[in-house]
């Protein structure tokens, strides 16, 4: 069965303040959806709420991945069900090497007694690291500790590649990347495109979408998707900014939940 991800009227709040005010979206396997919008409109909240960050409280709605409502699940269960969020600010964890962490994550998806062999794991990891032009030393460094912004993002993509998720959310994966890193990261994502995997790419800039070509583009304002279209929408936003969207929809302040 090809992947199907359906978000229905998703509402979420942070510290009692409603940020997402009813998100509806359907992503099929093979599709890349981009969510664009100015800062403070709820884009990253959508990513975090879908993954289950403890700070975000889902107050209404559903999100079904291949028929299962992931919002009913714990964070780790969502991941094992096929969700993957490449985070904007990945945590640094002292004392846990990248390799140990990756192996734990892979084995969390496998039955006890059926853990991945060390040799096979190393081969896979090294292969993917090479594709991402990562220094092999990073396998033995503590997770994200002392990594530059670009290295952290590559490391997120490495995890995505090894975990083989069904629904990938990239949250501002382009922030802090120079043009070379952007190309490498994008190649990694494009290599993962397949019929049984959907992508939700959250970005502030159209630049990323030159590398990762979306099938659908959505504009988020005031905690809602206010406009959807094809790749041409992203180009128009790049050229003309967001003002015309606001004008068209009669929006004065596009942000949501700002003090």
């Amino acid at each position: 069965m090809s992947t199907q991800f359906i978000i229905n009227d998703l509402k979420a709040s942070v510290e009692g303040k409603e940020i997402l005010k009813g998100i509806n979206l359907e992503i099929k396997g093979g599709e890349i959806h981009a969510i664009m919008g100015p800062n403070g409109t709820g884009k990253s909240t959508l990513a975090s709420a879908l993954m289950g960050h403890p700070k975000y409280e889902v107050t209404d709605g559903t999100a079904h991945l291949n028929g299962e409502d992931i919002l009913e699940m714990e964070v780790d269960e969502r991941a094992r069900a096929g969700m993957f969020l490449a985070m904007q600010y990945p945590s640094e964890i002292t004392g846990v090497t990248n390799a140990d962490f990756l192996r734990s994550a892979i084995n969390a998806r496998r039955e006890e007694g059926n853990e991945i062999s060390l040799i096979k794991f190393i081969r896979q990891m090294e292969g993917k690291m090479k594709e991402l032009e990562m220094n092999p030393e990073f396998a033995h460094r503590y997770l994200n500790e002392g990594f530059s912004g670009g290295e952290k993002k590559r490391n997120e993509i490495l995890q995505m590649m090894l975990l083989d998720p069904k629904l990938v959310i990239l949250d501002e994966i382009d922030s802090g990347l120079d043009i070379d890193a952007l190309r490498i990261v994008s190649n990694g994502v494009n290599a993962m495109r397949s019929e049984d995997r959907g992508f939700l790419v959250i970005t502030h800039y159209q630049r990323l979408l030159n590398y990762i070509k979306p099938d659908f583009v959505h504009v988020m304002m005031q905690g809602r998707i206010v406009k959807s279209g094809g790749p041409e929408l992203a180009e128009r936003l790049e050229n003309e900014g967001y003002d015309w969207v606001k004008e068209e929809l009669g929006i004065v302040d596009e942000t949501v939940g700002q003090a």
Binding site: M51, F84, P90, S91, I93, T94, G95, V96
Partner: protein, 435 residues
Amino acid sequence: MSIQLSTPVNRQAAEALSRSKGEPEWLTAKRADAAELVETLELPKVEKTRIDRWNLSAYGQYKAAQPVSSAQELSQDIQAFVTESQAGLLVTRGSGAVFSTLSDELKAQGVIFTDLETAAREHGAIVQQYLHTVVPSNEDKLTALHSALWNGGVFVYVPKNVEVELPLQALLYNDDAEATFAPHVLIVAEANSRVTYVDNVITTGSAAQVAAIHHGIVEVVAKAGAKVSFASIHSMGEEVVDISIRRAALDNDARVEWIIGDLNDGNTLSDTKSVLNGRGSSSDSKVISIGSKKQKLSLTTQAVHWGKSTDSQMITRAVMREEATAIINGITKIEKGATKANGEQTEKVLMLSPKSRGDANPILLIDEDDVTAGHAASVGQVNPEQVYYLMSRGIAKIDAERLIIYGFLAPVVSEIPIDAVREQLQRLLERKLEA
């Protein structure tokens, strides 16, 4: 001061005991003098820890230990601590030594590795020269008490320019709560020598379950250019009070590395100090601890800089569970004249329950301007962002927390010089964290 000791310590008793063991006169005299001091000296002042309320009464009686002829005769639970590749092995049980071996090659090079009581008889001149010079008997009531009653113990002597490649291992265990368990470890590393010493301090059987005391003192003398690596893992029972004072005196360009695992189940007073006398000497201390139940831990690392261009690094990491309390002190003292000295310290406590407590006290005492020093301290809980991050990759919450906790201790664990000891430590960590 109302410290009740079941063993009467006075000049006569200390003398009588020493004589009955056939100790040399000079040692009998040292013990007798120390016993007299016990009466007059005060307990040490320990930061935020009322050791006067600890049960220090169960000091026990000297009991001669029965030697064994090979390591195979040791009980299974003790044998489990013996590592494969060591240059020498020494085992003490309760009050005395039961087994020791040292490679012929090292013997031929003049290395001495034996229990301290034997050393006092057979190598009296060297032992007499150094015993109690690093930790003076008259420092406080506890050092005096120890000097009067220490038994068994370890003596390591490494001659000039001799490099001991493989580690020397000691197992200091007690399985009889009525036996005095007060080992004294004396390590003398002559100029430009090298040695790695590892010990496990253990209680088993009845000694782990009834009130008892382990009262240990370690003295390390590192002569010019010598390097001493000292690793010690303590895993004693819930009713056992562990008082462990470790101290090194360093000459020019000497180096001491301490790795301490305080993994007892009972109250623990652990104080590890390097006195950097010589120019260019350096010290590195790494301490980890896990507290559980109602344990009270006082963990102190200290570095005293007298020499110019001396360097000290100190790290303590403690995980506190249940209702355990840890007071963690890091004291960097730089004396006047110790120009270009550098001292850095970090104390971190991870608290796993609302009733656990941790106190990190970084203390810098600096009497010289031309120095660098730094400290960092933190006390906190497992970071929920980190747990979320790991869980978002499919790792279950309990495993995520486990990874973070072990990761917190990893910077010390990964430094243990011997694979087998590191694995032992890992097992002990698991036992304490997952009990």
